[in-house]
């Protein structure tokens, strides 16, 4: 079911979080349920010795030791989450994205491939209420774009007007599209198919229809399409 490298990284990390969440949740809820049933008031039982009573401040109780144990255990769990998150984010959103390779199949970029340089990044611009995708040479398309499978694609995302958010739903990546700023995301698609792009920040009446399609093609099909349109 792997559709892109980003989706695989997300699923793994989400799995770790959920695994721990279920363990912690089950322990906490089991403990609560047990205590509530075990210590439910019965008619025969009488109040504990230290029951707070009207007329005096109750004696304070509680061990710092227990708090310390709780905090230490939690810190340990949270440290795992922080470390795994950092590892994921270093790959997903590095300061310098990897070389783009989507153009290597195109004849005009033979030299780029030979020298191992990066292909140009694609520009994505959010407008009220559509997406414009621009390839080198100012070839631009509204609400859809195409890339070859198993290559690296780097996108520079910005906005022409208000605050949008560019998300490729199945790839589990998104970034804000903000006028005056450029945010970069990258991915390697693993499967030829159509994927849904949607705006994730309420941007006005029309936001609901701000949907685009990413068409991941096999390399030959992409070559033909890219070459046929000038």
């Amino acid at each position: 079911m792997a559709v892109s490298n980003t989706q695989v990284i997300f699923d793994n990390l989400y799995g770790i979080f959920t695994y721990l969440a279920i363990i912690v949740g089950v322990i906490v809820f089991a403990l609560m349920a047990y205590l509530i049933i075990r210590y439910r008031a019965k008619n025969s039982s009488s109040d504990p010795e230290d029951t707070p009573r009207l007329g005096r401040i109750p004696t304070s109780r509680g061990h710092g030791r227990n708090v310390l144990i709780t905090v230490t255990l939690s810190t340990f769990l949270l440290a795992i989450l922080i470390i795994t998150s950092f590892a994921a984010v270093d790959t997903l959103f590095p300061n310098n994205p990897p070389n783009a390779t989507w153009c290597y199949s195109i004849a005009a970029y033979n030299q780029t491939q030979a020298t191992g340089q990066s292909c140009p990044r694609l520009d994505v611009t959010g407008h009220q209420f559509y997406w414009v995708f621009t390839y080198p040479g100012a070839r631009s398309y509204t609400n859809f774009f195409r890339v070859p499978v198993n290559t690296t694609v780097v996108l520079d995302v910005t906005s022409a007007d208000v605050f949008h958010d560019f998300g490729i739903i199945q790839f589990k990546i998104k970034t804000d599209a903000i006028k005056g700023r450029t945010n970069t995301i990258w991915f390697i698609p693993y499967k030829t198919a159509n994927y849904t792009i949607q705006c994730f920040e309420l941007c006005g009446t029309g936001h609901v229809g701000m949907i685009a399609t990413l068409n991941v093609m096999n390399v030959t099909a992409f070559q033909n399409w890219y070459g046929s349109e000038k």
């Binding site: 990284i9 205590l35 007329g55 109750p58 710092g64 227990n66 989450l81 970034t175 609901v208």
Partner: protein, 820 residues
């Protein structure tokens, strides 16, 4: 009788408040009593709860199936926005502050809040702000989400004046909240019963105290942000629509407020839960000092986590990692709180009354909300989850699951205290079960909708989101329907329920020592806490079981203890004046020929101003004395009178306010490629002259105070006149400078960020100078009547504090605008 004057007594008879309205109406309109105000808060917040809930149910109906068309997209977006705003500002906090008003003074053994009239004014500002936000539907309600992201708030993208009305509502409620924070802070630091040391306070007052500190430092940031937004729309400036400021400036100032705000609406509920659990488990709260310490820690950390709302704005890998760590770290103090509540259950004797059920249920839901919050704290996961229903599910588990459920626990817990009657326990338990099940059917499916964008009006069938949405909608109607049980139960019970007696739950906090409902004057004599922790009620004998002694002959119709004591019409009138003023500022015509801004509606502004001046006059003329008890606990502010502490607190909030304005200036300046050189636009000489004039006026203010202290009336008059004159000179130089810059024609308020930031920042400061000058006029008038020179010079001193603050702000503005 002197001890009763705390309640506040209007000695002078006022025709307006005596003749027109019958006592029953007067009691609610003109009250300054904390208990009446508390009930007003509760009832009003529940009204808004129903309103916002109905908006939510309509949205759930729209979303129940794909391609649905119950609501148009515009209407849906308006509902999304107003639902969020209402719930956060007009429901959660005011609900909690209803309890804080009624219960908190009793719990710390005070007879009222420090400033009863100010408290009434907070309420009326709250009510009218709520009227404004609902009214915004008439003018096209805000439709861009409660977060009001820029630049969509700019006039060119949102020309409807409904957004102005919404912004006006937000300004009014911020004023209300700031007044409340000052009031509660002074009350809690200065009016605790003897022996009620901070460490003896129950957790609920502690939670409110921590909440107030967060409010005091978060809301000024919000006020500054909304003010700049207002200016952008009214004058066509570009703080938030330029690419130099714009989206990220708004994000920063909004979320600097926004994250603490989450804890502001959460902590009071945790305080309620921490009061309810010990009562119904019959054991003291486990590790209560660790719970309180954790709250303080979480409050502090809440101010350094706002970046996690900006993970995908492109603020850089290092920043996002830092915010991941701080945000994940903030879960540790919450761990401690939850564990402490659970450990309290060990060896307890748990009575599962409705209040206890809601408290325990709230903890369980809080655990789910907290754990899923850790997901969102991770920058890596947030790249996928941002803006999806996963986020919606998470924060509803916190805000509805923990906050609303916790506050409903409080409603059942204190209902007998508020009304003197018991509710129907069986119906209440059914209410809990149905609510809890309905809640989870409503919100849990949303965790699974982690691909679905939030705030969309509809979705296509092939997304596969239909079934989970249908399920959530069913849950929504179960949860919403359950609340009918709550309202019916409480409404019928407050009329016909069996009498509750003073302490139906066998609680330990001081409010249970009083009759239910609590008599107007609260305590006959203020209580005290002995060294061994036992309560004492003055010299009179307390009843057995820790009940306070109440002289029955004085309860009820006795004039001295009547609910009609301490009435003032002015809080209501002043709030209404402010409402008119801001409404006038908000509704008007777009300016022509190029509609980049709109023209305000001047007649309403004039009405509001006139009414405001009248009510200020009435307010200050009214003889409303609040007697300060001696021998109360006031660590660490023993030597500071109430009003002075109030002013210090207020100035603390002002520091944040100006800090944000100056911060915004820095932000746009560092993001701008070019900026006018030093001396190019402003004459340094002018700036220097203004600095000199203002600093001298600080000196004359000190002289005025010194003269008042030694009883020299002439010296005082001279000092005040000189201060007024210097203030006027400052404004004169400022005005000539403004006119000069304006006549060049190239440097108008809307001619670019250097101009905007200059005019707005120094303009706001100028308004503060004008306010100070008005104070000197008021002080002069009273001086001529012979006041302030007979040892009653407090007012001069308070004015001095304010004036020095205004001068200090200029000391910062001068170099920032003129010299660098």
């Amino acid at each position: 009788m002197s001890q009763l004057s705390r309640i506040g007594t209007v000695v002078k008879s006022d025709p307006m408040s005596q003749d027109i309205f019958p006592p029953r109406v007067k009691r609610w309109l003109f009250t300054t009593n904390h208990k009446e105000v508390g009930i007003l808060y509760l009832v009003t917040s529940l009204f808004f709860f129903v309103a916002a809930g109905l908006l939510a149910l309509t949205m759930r109906t729209q979303l129940s199936v794909p391609n649905n068309n119950v609501l148009t997209e515009t209407l849906y977006n308006q509902f999304v926005t107003v639902h969020g705003l209402l719930m956060i500002f007009w429901v959660l906090s005011p609900f909690a502050f209803g309890f804080a008003n009624y219960i908190l003074p009793l719990q710390i053994g005070a007879r009222d809040l420090a400033f009863p009239r100010l408290n009434a004014m907070s309420y009326w500002f709250y009510l009218f702000s709520g009227v404004a936000i609902i009214m915004s539907f008439i003018f096209g309600a805000p439709d861009l989400g409660w977060t009001l992201y820029s630049p969509q708030t700019a006039f060119q993208f949102t020309p409807t004046i409904g957004l102005n009305v919404g912004a006006a509502a937000l300004i009014l409620i911020t004023v209300s909240i700031t007044m409340s924070s000052v009031n509660f802070l002074v009350t809690m630091f200065k009016m605790r019963a003897p022996g009620m040391k901070l460490r003896n306070m129950p957790v609920f007052p502690w939670a409110i105290l921590v909440t107030i500190f967060m409010m005091l430092y978060a809301f000024p940031s919000f006020l500054a942000a909304v003010l700049l937004l207002y200016v952008d729309r009214a004058f066509g400036t570009f703080y938030f629509s330029s690419i130099q400021g714009g989206a990220l400036l708004w994000d920063n100032v909004f979320w600097f407020f926004g994250h603490p705000e989450v804890y502001i609406v959460l902590f009071p509920a945790i305080g309620v839960i921490a009061d309810v659990i010990p009562t119904f488990t019959r054991r003291p709260l486990y590790g209560s000092k660790y719970v309180i310490g954790s709250m303080i820690a979480a409050a502090v950390i809440s101010f350094i986590v706002w970046g996690h709302h900006m993970f995908v704005t492109g603020i850089g890998l290092t920043s996002t990692k830092l915010y991941t760590v701080t945000t994940i770290a903030v879960s540790l103090p919450f761990d401690v709180m939850v564990i402490a509540m659970i450990e309290t259950l060990i060896k307890a004797r748990i009575k599962l009354k409705a209040a206890a059920l809601f408290a325990l249920g709230a903890i369980a839901l809080f655990v789910i909300g907290g754990i899923t919050g850790v997901y969102l704290a991770s920058v890596a996961l947030d790249h996928a989850l941002r803006g999806t229903y996963f986020v919606v599910a998470h924060f509803h588990y916190i805000m509805v699951g923990a906050s609303i459920m916790g506050l409903i626990a409080g409603l059942y817990y204190w209902f007998p205290k508020l009304t003197g009657r018991m509710y129907n326990e069986t119906v209440a338990k059914i209410h809990f079960v149905v609510s809890f099940i309905g809640f989870n059917i409503l919100y849990f499916p949303m965790f699974l909708l982690l691909d679905m964008p939030r705030r969309i009006q509809t979705y296509a069938p092939d997304t596969g989101w239909g079934p989970l949405n249908s399920l959530a909608t069913i849950g929504g109607f179960i949860f919403g329907g359950a609340q009918v049980l709550l309202f019916l139960n409480l409404f019928l019970s407050q009329r016909r329920g069996p009498p509750s007696g003073p302490n139906p739950w066998d609680g330990w906090t001081l409010e249970w020592s009083l009759p239910s409902p609590v008599p107007a004057h609260d305590f006959d004599t203020i209580p005290s806490i002995a060294e061994d922790g036992t309560y004492r009620f003055g010299n009179g004998p307390g009843y057995p079981n820790g009940l306070a002694h109440i002289d029955d002959s004085k309860v009820g119709n006795g004039l001295a203890y009547s609910h009609l004591e301490g009435m003032s019409p002015w809080p209501l009138v002043m709030a209404f004046a402010a409402f008119l003023f801001f409404l006038g500022l908000s509704i008007g015509q777009p300016s022509s020929p190029t509609p980049v801004s709109y023209k305000p509606f001047w007649p309403l502004i004039a009405d509001g101003t006139i009414l405001g001046v009248i009510s200020l006059y009435g307010y200050s003329r009214e003889r409303f004395s609040v007697h300060e008890e001696s021998h109360v606990e006031s660590w660490p502010f023993r030597e500071v009178p109430n009003v002075k502490l109030g002013i210090w607190t207020f100035l603390g909030a002002e520091v944040i306010f100006f800090g944000v304005l100056i911060g915004a200036y820095f932000f746009v300046r560092t993001n701008s490629a070019t900026w006018p050189a030093v001396g190019e636009l402003f004459s340094i000489r002018n700036g220097f002259a203004m600095t000199l004039v203002l600093l001298t006026s600080s000196l004359t203010a000190i002289m005025a105070l010194a003269s008042a202290k030694i009883g020299s009336r002439n010296g005082l008059i001279a000092g005040l006149l000189a201060t007024f004159g210097l203030g006027a000179s400052f404004l004169y130089i400022k005005a000539t400078e403004w006119i000069e810059l304006g006549t060049h024609g190239v440097f108008l308020v809307a001619s670019g960020l250097p101009a905007t930031s200059y005019f707005i920042t120094t303009g706001t400061h100028g308004v503060h100078v004008v306010a100070g000058m008005c104070m000197t006029v008021y002080l002069l008038a009273n001086t001529l009547k012979g006041r302030y020179t007979k040892g009653d010079h407090d007012a001069i001193e308070h004015f001095g504090l304010y004036w020095h603050f205004v001068d200090i702000v200029w000391v910062f503005l001068f170099p920032l605008f003129y010299l660098i």
